[in-house]
């Protein structure tokens, strides 16, 4: 029952400004543990900024973040040891091969060498990267980079996994594999938080969602609650963040007109 009481992530009054504009304008959120969490919102809503601040990659202007009861900004190293991150920009040592990257990451996380190699082999296998494990990461395709990033994030068996757009650029077969891996992983009590704009995906995968727009939380809770009366999450989302039906169109009359 302990896991139901302590939230996986607790966010209080989180703010971040870039110049005049507030990218994240006061977020309070408690994310339950052991579930698949979806963070959705339109482009520029502040998803990446929020995830960066939650995972210790970007210093907030104000606010508190706790993961598993530990304050992220008091002791970032201790928290980073418990979480896995797949960030948006995906900066990696590009001139290492996929396998070398995993070997290096695992050792930097303090795992014993033979254990790292064993886990790396399995992850490369499951993620269908075994064939390109000796290629340099710089020569990987977009989807392959996502997958090797995911492998690096999973390597140390974190308590909470944060993924920014993990399915972007990943082929359907690999996406299915990733889903299986992540589902098995949450079944063991771990938490996965991921951002996405693909509502069908979020709907089929997540049991709990938070909707972010213009730097604020618009709705959060179990999937069914957020969806409410609407037939699909997509409809609920559009009504929450305000779909702009009819706004397109009239100004683009030249598009597709006489050439």
């Amino acid at each position: 029952m302990g896991q139901d009481v302590i939230p996986a992530v607790r966010i209080e009054g989180l703010w971040k400004r870039f110049g005049e504009q507030a990218a994240v304008a006061g977020i309070d959120l408690e994310i339950p543990a052991g579930q698949f969490i979806g963070l959705v919102g339109p482009n520029g809503a502040g998803k990446t900024t929020t995830l960066s601040m939650v995972t210790g990659l970007l210093r907030p202007d104000s606010g508190r973040v706790e993961i598993g009861g530990h304050d992220v900004w008091q002791d970032p190293a201790a928290v980073k040891a418990r979480i896995g991150v797949l960030p948006e920009g995906l900066r990696m040592f590009e001139r290492l091969s996929g396998r070398e990257l995993l070997a290096c990451t695992g050792r930097l996380r303090g795992l014993p060498g033979d254990e790292v190699d064993k886990r790396a082999t399995q992850l490369l296998d499951v993620l269908d990267l075994a064939g390109s494990q000796h290629k340099l990461v710089i020569d990987y395709s977009t989807g392959m980079r996502k997958k090797i990033g995911l492998a690096a994030a999973l390597l140390h068996n974190p308590e909470v996994l944060f993924l920014d757009e993990p399915f972007e650029g990943v082929d359907p077969v690999s996406a299915q594999t990733i889903r299986k891996v992540l589902e098995r992983y949450t079944a063991s009590g771990a938490t996965v938080v991921f951002s996405s704009h693909v509502m069908e995906l979020v709907e089929s995968l997540c049991s709990w969602v938070a909707v972010l727009a213009a730097g604020r939380i618009r709705a959060h809770g179990p999937l069914a609650e957020v969806r409410g009366e609407a037939p699909t999450l997509q409809d609920a989302f559009l009504s929450l963040v305000g779909g702009r039906a009819g706004a397109e169109g009239e100004n683009l009359d030249w598009l597709g007109g006489a050439r």
């Binding site: 990659l57 970007l58 598993g68 040891a81 418990r82 991150v85 001139r95 050792r107 930097l108 303090g110």
Partner: protein, 540 residues
């Protein structure tokens, strides 16, 4: 779940050493050309180091040996601190943004990064010089023991300085102070170069005794003090030796602390260099108006559009801005400082012109992966010519007035108005020649400019291409100006000084002509090599 283990320090250091080695090895793996460049530089460095080592060992017994080794140590430290900022080079282990996700505390991280930076050609070369210095000055067992510590301290200090300065600069550049810092860095490098100049001039006299006054000051400046400790111990002044070593150690500790602080800040801040802090919406609107005003003055069509884009990049992209500001400052400072030292010459104006003209040497690299958008719009050599011409025009808008300014300032400083028209004319021709060669080097030797890392100007592994292009281009540009140089020398020796003014229009005309020919020559090659250029510039 129990608290997960953080890596132990020894394993961390081992992993970083391993990481650095893998990166070096894999960098070579990518192409055989790169391997050739790397091996050549390895051989050259080894030869040079061996020569220096022999020279230093030959100094053993010379009572003034320490007067050389102490300034040498300080010079090396200065070099480590500032040269990496301005010259090509990329070390991926320097990029701490790739390590932010890992559970590493600041102190072990700094130790691990230091370990990684100990591996490489540069550190080996520096170590050899320090070992040579110790051999030259260590007399007795105590001095030898102190020498081991002294050399190690000096090397660590050099490496720590290099990383601390680079990190602090990155931090400033991604902050609001970027602009001012760019200026300051330009000044620092210019002044540093002058010190090197000064040191060289002194060394050439080969009278080491004359360096004693300099060494007397520098022995209190680490890492000079670490090497003077060796001499002091040899002469039996153990107290002084211990004090000097302690001073070096204290400075090393301070530098490491400073580095650790900047590193911690850099790792968790967003790149805010493109955010204008006080630009409210109103200001942004005004800036847009200003752009519109400028656009009104520029020619219509492709020419104006490309010029406007180039000029906007100049004011908005921190990297481009930085490069320009340093070039402008160095171009003015070097002649001024030389004049102040009594080595003034109006001919330093050529230096300023060259530094500025080289800005276009990798003009497509400045676009980075966005070059594909340019590629889409070039369908013939004609388009390529228009593109090249517009880019050259944008630079000329700054280069021509600047060159004129530098010539006038140099003439005023050195009070050499007689040669002014000649130098002016030659400078204008040189600008044209540099534009001409810049078009060709941009096609033949394009390379990527990494977006991340404020001071990495060349993607790892493309150093050879970058240097080769610049060197070759500068030589060819000088050669292209030969007719005008011959004319100038002839007028000069014939005593026809009144006719020297004719060199100004002649230089301008010749510059225009040669730039036109150079762009014409390069345009079909740009059109034919677009995919290759895109591949080369988007490796960042």
């Amino acid at each position: 779940m129990s608290a997960p283990a953080l890596p132990s320090l020894p394993s961390l250091l081992g992993t970083f050493a391993h990481l650095k080695l893998s990166l070096l090895r894999n960098g070579l793996r990518q192409s055989s050309g790169r391997k050739a460049v790397y091996i050549t530089s390895l051989v050259l460095t080894a030869l040079f180091a061996a020569l220096e080592l022999i020279g230093l060992i030959a100094l053993r017994g010379n009572e003034h040996a320490a007067a050389l080794t102490v300034p040498l140590a300080v010079l090396l430290a200065l070099g480590w601190a500032f040269v990496p900022l301005f010259f090509p080079g990329g070390d991926e282990t320097l990029d701490a943004s790739k390590l932010v996700m890992l559970p590493l505390r600041p102190t072990p991280l700094v130790a691990a990064l230091m370990t990684a930076s100990l591996i490489g050609i540069g550190p080996a070369f520096t170590l050899i010089l320090f070992v040579g210095s110790v051999i030259a000055t260590a007399h007795g067992v105590a001095a030898a023991v102190i020498g081991v510590f002294g050399a190690a301290l000096a090397l660590l200090l050099c490496l720590a300085l290099a990383r601390a300065v680079a990190t602090a600069n990155a931090r400033l550049l991604t902050s609001r102070k970027g602009r001012e810092m760019a200026l300051l860095s330009g000044l620092i490098i210019a002044v540093g170069l002058q010190f090197v100049n000064l040191g060289m001039a002194k060394l050439n006299t080969l009278h080491l005794a004359r360096l004693e006054p300099l060494a007397d000051i520098l022995r209190w400046v680490p890492p000079g003090s670490a090497l003077d400790a060796v001499r002091a111990a040899g002469e039996g002044s153990y107290g002084l030796a211990a004090g000097e070593l302690a001073l070096s150690a204290a400075v090393l500790a301070a530098v490491l602390w400073w580095w650790q602080r900047s590193l911690a800040a850099v790792m968790v801040s967003a790149d805010a260099s493109t955010v204008s802090p006080d630009a409210s919406r109103k200001d942004a609107g005004r800036a847009a108006d200003k752009g519109a005003g400028l656009a009104g003055l520029l020619p219509a069509g492709r020419t104006g559009a490309v010029m406007l884009r180039s000029l906007r990049y100049l004011s908005r992209d921190p990297k481009t801005r930085m490069a320009w500001v340093s070039a402008l400052v160095i171009g003015l400072i070097v002649p001024a400082v030389n004049a102040a030292q009594g080595n003034g010459s109006i001919y330093f104006a050529f230096f300023a012109t060259t530094v500025l003209g080289m800005h276009n040497y990798n003009q497509f690299g400045q676009d980075g992966s966005a070059f594909w958008m340019v590629l889409q719009t070039i369908s013939s050599p004609r388009d390529a010519y228009a593109e090249l011409r517009s880019r050259a025009l944008a630079v000329a808008l700054i280069a021509v007035p600047y060159t004129t300014l530098v010539v006038i300032v140099s003439a005023a400083i050195t009070d050499n108005w007689r040669d002014m028209p000649m130098v002016w004319g030659l400078c204008l021709a040189l600008v044209g020649a540099l534009f001409a060669t810049a078009a060709t080097t941009s096609v033949r030797f394009p390379y990527s400019i990494p977006q991340e890392g404020a001071f990495k100007n060349v993607a790892p592994g493309q150093n050879g291409i970058a240097w080769g292009g610049m060197l070759l281009g500068a030589l060819v540009s000088a050669a292209l100006c030969t007719p005008l140089i011959v004319a100038a020398v002839w007028l000069h020796s014939a005593g026809a000084t009144g006719l020297l003014w004719a060199l100004v229009p002649a230089g301008a005309g010749y510059g225009l002509l040669i730039a036109w020919a150079g762009l014409r020559f390069a345009a079909p090659r740009v059109a034919g090599r677009l995919p290759e250029i895109l591949a080369a510039v988007s490796k960042g």
